[in-house]
């Protein structure tokens, strides 16, 4: 009987190869094995840098007595002030002459 085993295995391997060759994947990323639906996913990543927000009446009691270090830059979009500190947390010291109610964003680099 030993003599039959090898050709039988060969025959089975040929059949397996043939079936694999015509198989069609129903779903590539993920399949839930249900006959009428397939699913696929994507991952999302949003990176928010460390930002210190100082809002009127929130982080400080008054914005009327704050000044900014020399690293302050002033964007033209909404009048907010961006502090580009050298390292760690940016500092807000005084704000002389700036109207209350303005939103200040201090960026920690």
């Amino acid at each position: 009987m030993k003599g039959y085993i090898k050709p039988l295995v060969t025959f089975a391997m040929l059949l397996m190869f043939t079936v694999d060759g015509v198989a069609e994947s129903r779903s590539v990323n993920y399949q839930d094995n249900k006959p009428d639906q397939a699913s696929a996913r994507i991952k999302l990543r949003v990176v928010i840098p460390e930002v210190l927000l100082f809002r009127n009446g929130n982080a400080t009691s008054s914005l009327d007595h704050l000044t900014f270090p020399t690293s302050v830059t002033t964007p033209t979009s909404d009048g907010s002030l961006i502090l580009n500190g050298n390292s760690g947390h940016a500092s807000i010291v005084d704000d002389s002459g700036t109207a209350a109610g303005t939103t200040y964003t201090a960026t920690s680099l």
Partner: protein
Amino acid sequence: MKNVCNKFKWSVQFLILLATTVLHDSYTNTAGAVVFTLSDVAVPTLSIRVGARNSISRVRFNVQGADVGNGIPVDGNRRINFTLVLRATAANPLTGFLTVDSSTPLDNGSGSTMPSSEISWVSRDEDIPSGSYAGTTNQPLASFLSSVRVRDRHTFQYRNANVYDAGTYNGQVTYTWAAP
């Protein structure tokens, strides 16, 4: 008696080898003429691919410090290709529905979350229309009649209209392509 057994054994092996050869040739089609037979027995097929073929693609949005919450959308770092296939017989057509589950918010791992509704997309062909995630489990996106192959490409944006705690927010959305 031993010789008879050996002859019988080799005969059986020869027959098996002959059968496998015939089967193999029938698949490799080594005949001089090629005959195409179109039968009306198409197997209903449904498949979906979103992004890369062998992995789950990730869209990343890097918000710059000076831009946090300024209302100017931030583009994703990559576009995502969609391929939907729905095949059925003409006698028994199917309608495929594409939905997305974005109910799980993005999480920064430090206790803060961000709803996926902060993310929208622009469609290249509008086969799968432009829109934004609703943050629900079963948001309908498009439907198509069989038989169809749909290819489209989405460019994603982070809305950037709110200020969230610092961190790396990770999330995942699942697109389901179904023909009930």
